[in-house]
Symmetry: C2
Subunit: 357 residues, 2 copies
């Protein structure tokens, strides 16, 4: 099809305190005594949120270790454990950041699909619908709450299970959950949304659907990180909507240079997505002059540390690995630089860019 | 639940020419030889669009007479005719404006629900999911493409079948379809979106979800009707997104004075929704000073005729009927004027307002 037929999440509830409706929302989704499985970002271990999860019957609470972004092995192991213990489950609920939500989507799919999640990394390879899946972000900016993918590191590549079965059946957007996020982390993750918007709005792939969502997401990021003089409850409300709108804008747009370059970092050094994009974007004046100027203002204003010198001491071979991974992201480069991107982005130019980081 | 759990449409495709994907989109939804039923706004009878509908096998093309807004009797008759002829159908596809889309939603529901559609006018009364339903707007502004209701005139009231089963499974947003709309009609329907935004953004019911959608819809309306100096293809693109965003913003907001007053006109005089809202809004300076000022600029700039004097010669009894209908819309008045709206909007004040129209 020329235009993507975009699968939407099934239900959205948005509101301060809407997390308290979770029990009522899940109740009609329970199938006999099959448990609901809650994957909770390990950040919340021992915190108040843990005690507010509406566990019933055989329900299972799993602390999701998202120190590293999710791996196919982690997905497969968790799905196997759940199948062995319960046969099937009523649903999988991811409560946390992008990694936790992606983990929940992937485990939900693997409950009903044979083999390894690595078999389904790619586009439209998933065979069967998963079990019921719900996503509850506790930090804003990734857009994972509305995306049709789940980014996984597999044996040979970092790539999502991108399919119409992947989006959540339900998302719960409760900005109160984002209140305790550390300032640096909130910024890095918020910038995932901001940088996406800059890259997609300046890209060559775009239509009015994605433009209108991208513009709104961008305006909300500017409002909370630049125009307002302090962080308040409304800032959390707005950043949660920015993340949602930024995620929706992906339907008909593509990211660009920052993402292409940061995939190399992530592959070689394990740099997490949000901070990796910030490290790269900080040096992209030549590609996104206005966006980078504004980004630096936001960094200053919010007193954020952007790590420097992370590529110091790498070998030629390591630089080559990053360059290979990055140049493999063809649609991103084409979106950013046009059809003749290969003439513009030579290996030497990219090496020089990595050396600056 | 304190916060509405908002049911989204299943799939969205947006793009200039995306209508040509309809055959491919419907194909996996076909159930054996049960037909797809296309309800096409009678405006297109004999026009090129009629010939582009992907009819296969026993598919049925119905010219939908939307001279008047849909009635429960019309819904019931069409559903009965389809049941008698085919037993069941694969789906119902509404191609047209808000009335045609609402008709398609209602007929799709009545294929699987007993009795009359009048039995289901209200909130969450529909018992069973309908057949597959798709909506394809050919004019922008109503938001019917994403709403969870279908406004019907029944034996005793004008009220929708408001339920989680009501939203479309698929919408196709192809701005090219809106190209032939007459200028006045395009304006009246576009103002359905604009006026909704003014009413909801100034209302007392609102949260950041609806605010962000409402602000985007408003900005797009201002762009096409006020800031641009001519109408072009991008204007159609933008107005179609304004309608979508305006419809989404309904999730957590409410309309206000213009809608409450125009329901009275519609009930007594059969005034259609778009033009009715314009006739009323034109006289609401005291409630929405900035919005009405801007509306008048748009009327001038686009050289639109807003009918005047439509209440001349009505009897006291007729005015009373309109006043009763209007004052019955309690949530709209409360949203517009606050908890003590009854003190502010007396019968005399409302009568004076109707006399001005």
């Amino acid at each position: 099809m020329q235009f993507r037929n975009f699968k939407m999440v099934g239900y959205v509830v948005y509101g301060r305190g809407s997390f308290d409706q979770l029990d009522e929302i899940l109740s009609p989704q329970r199938k006999g005594d099959a448990p609901m499985v809650f994957l909770l970002d390990h950040f919340f271990k021992g915190k108040a949120l843990e005690g507010r999860i509406p566990l019933r019957g055989k329900d299972r609470l799993v602390s999701a270790d998202v120190t590293y972004e999710p791996k196919t092995t982690q997905v497969d192991q968790l799905a196997k454990e759940l199948k062995d213990a319960y046969g099937t489950v009523s649903g999988v609920i991811g409560i946390g950041g992008g990694s936790t939500m992606d983990l929940a989507k992937a485990v939900g799919l693997m409950m009903n699909n044979p083999g390894s999640s690595a078999d389904y990394q790619g586009w439209d390879l998933v065979k069967n619908p998963g079990v019921y899946k719900a996503g509850i972000p506790t930090i804003s900016g990734t857009g994972a709450e509305v995306s049709r993918t789940t980014v996984l590191t597999g044996p040979t590549r970092k790539l999502g299970m991108n399919s119409d079965f992947t989006p959540f059946d339900q998302i719960v957007l409760d900005p109160v959950l984002a209140e305790g996020v550390p300032v640096n982390q909130r910024f890095y993750t918020g910038m995932d949304c901001y940088i996406h918007c800059i890259e997609s709005l300046q890209g060559t792939y775009l239509n009015e659907f994605s433009k209108s969502y991208g513009e709104k997401a961008l305006a909300l990021c500017q409002e909370v990180f630049l125009h307002k003089d302090h962080w308040d409850a409304q800032s959390d409300d707005q950043l949660m909507m920015a993340s949602y709108a930024g995620g929706m804008s992906i339907a008909y747009s593509q990211v660009g240079v920052a993402h292409a370059v940061s995939y190399g970092l992530s592959y070689l050094l394990g740099t997490k997505h949000g901070i990796g994009n910030c490290i790269v974007f900080n040096h992209l004046e030549e590609f996104y002059p206005e966006g980078v100027r504004e980004f630096k203002k936001m960094v200053d204003k919010n007193k954020i540390d952007i790590p420097q010198g992370i590529c110091k001491g790498l070998t030629d071979e390591q630089f080559d690995t990053m360059i290979n991974v990055s140049l493999g992201m063809k649609p991103l480069w084409e979106n950013a630089l046009g059809k003749d991107w290969e003439k513009q982005m030579t290996r030497d130019r990219l090496r020089a860019l990595y050396e600056k980081l």
